[in-house]
Point group: C2
Chain length 210, copies 2
DNA sequence: TGGTTTGTGTAACTTAAGTTACTGCAAGGG
DNA sequence: CCCTTGCAGTAACTTAAGTTACACAAACCA
C-alpha cells in the first residue's frame, strides 16, 4: 500500500501524512460495476483513488439516473467530505466504472489532518474546487446544450476515461446515463455514424473523429 | 461591525476568531442589483452574509443566464473559497437580490484560520456541503422536472427569499433566470392563474397557494 | 395631450425529445 | 440445432418548449 500511495500522492502529501494514512487507511481493490456508495447510505470512509475510475450518479424520485462526473486517480469524493462532517446521508451513488484501486481513510481523521497538514488542506480544497467545477460543467451541458451535443461530450469523456476509442455500452446504458430514452440515443448515434464520426456495432461503439 | 458579526456568527465562531475577523474584515452594504462578482474576475475576498440575499448565476457562451441558488444570512460563497486558493477566476456571477449587508474577509486568512480554528473549519465544510446540495437541487430540477414544476419551485423560493407573497418581476426576468423564453413563462403563469394558484399583475405576481 | 416604450396575452408554427410499436438480427444456452 | 433473449433500427405519433408575429393597454414623458 505504501508504494501505491507514494506513487499517487507522494508529490502532494508530506512524509508524515503519508505515514499516518498508511497507519489508518485500508487498501481496497474493486472490480467494474461494484457499488461503492448509494444514496441514503451513511458515509464511513473517504476514498483516495489510486487507479481506475468511479462514476458518480444522481437519482430522481422515479429511480431515473443521471451521470454527474467521474472520479479518477488522485481524486477523492467531495460529497464524502461534507457528508461525514455533518453526519448526513449520501446524496449520490458511486459505481466503479473500471477495475479500481483505492485507499479508504476513516472519516474521523479528517478534522485532525485538516488542522495539522497544509498539504491535506490544499488537497481537500482543490478536490472541492474540481468537483464543483465538474458539477457546473454537467449543469451547463444539461441546461444549455441539446441532446446531440451532450451525447458527443459523453462519448468523448467516456473514451478518455477508458483510454481508448471503443465504448463498450449498449444504447440503453447510454440513455440511462444521460437521462434520455434508448430510441432517442439510437437515433442520434445513427446520425453521428452517417456523418462519419463514429461506427456502430452490437454492444460497442467505435469513435473515429469527434 | 462587531455587533452585526456577533449577532449573525457569534454562536458558531469562537471569541478569538470573531476578533480576528473584526481586525481584517471590512463591512459592506450594497443595494439591490449590485454586482458583487462576475465570471472571469479574480477573487480577492470572501463574503460573510449578515442580512439580505445574493443570487448566484451561471452564464453560457451566448450570454444566456441560469439562476443557480441564493446566498442568505449566515452563508458564504463556496466558489470564492476554491477560487482564491487555486488563484483561479470566478465561474459564476453574484448579484444582490435585495439590499444586503456583508463582511468581506481577505482570502489570505483562509488557510491560517482553517488550521487554527475548529469552528472555522466546520463553517467552511458546512458551507461547501450546503452549496453542493443546492447545486444538486438545481441540477435535479433542470434534469428531471418540466418547466411548469421548475416555475413553481422558482416562485416559491423567490417568495421565501423576499419574505412575502409578492414577486416583483416581469415575465422576461423570470424567463432569464430559468433560461427559458418570455412567451413560455407567460403561458405557464397564465395556467397557474387559471387554476387559482397565483394572480398576475403588471410588473408583479401575487402568490395565493402554491 | 399625443406618442413612445414596456409588459402581457395569444395564435400559429417549428423543433427537439419522448413514446409506442414493430422489425430483424446476433448471441448464447439448452 | 432451434429457441429464447437482448440489442439495434425505424416509422408514426405525442408533447413540451421555443419562435415569430401581432394586438393591446398601462406607464412614461416630452
Amino acid at each position: 500500500m505504501i508504494q501505491e500511495l507514494k506513487e499517487g500522492y507522494g508529490h502532494i502529501f508530506e512524509e508524515a501524512l503519508i505515514n499516518e494514512i498508511v497507519q489508518v487507511g485500508t487498501f481496497k481493490e474493486v472490480s467494474e460495476g461494484y457499488k461503492l456508495m448509494d444514496i441514503g447510505e451513511y458515509v464511513r470512509g473517504m476514498p483516495l483513488l489510486i487507479s481506475g475510475a468511479i462514476k458518480v450518479l444522481r437519482e430522481d424520485k422515479d429511480g431515473d439516473e443521471l451521470l454527474l462526473y467521474y472520479l479518477e486517480k488522485g481524486d477523492t469524493c467531495s460529497m464524502t467530505l461534507t457528508c461525514c462532517m455533518g453526519d448526513s446521508k449520501s446524496e449520490i451513488r458511486a459505481i466503479a466504472e473500471t477495475d479500481t484501486k483505492l485507499i479508504m481513510v476513516p472519516v474521523q481523521k479528517m478534522d485532525e489532518w485538516t488542522a495539522k497538514y497544509k498539504s491535506w488542506r490544499n488537497f481537500i480544497f482543490e478536490s472541492y474546487h474540481n468537483r464543483l467545477n465538474e458539477l457546473l460543467n454537467t449543469l451547463d451541458s444539461i441546461a444549455f446544450d441539446k441532446m446531440d451535443m451532450r451525447l458527443i461530450s459523453y462519448l468523448k469523456e467516456k473514451a478518455r476515461i477508458n483510454d481508448g476509442n471503443i465504448i463498450k455500452n449498449t444504447h440503453q446504458e447510454i440513455a440511462y446515463d444521460l437521462h434520455s430514452s434508448r430510441v432517442v440515443i439510437s437515433r442520434l448515434l445513427k446520425k453521428l455514424e452517417q456523418i462519419g464520426k463514429i461506427e456502430l456495432h452490437r454492444n460497442y461503439i467505435e469513435i473515429l473523429t469527434l
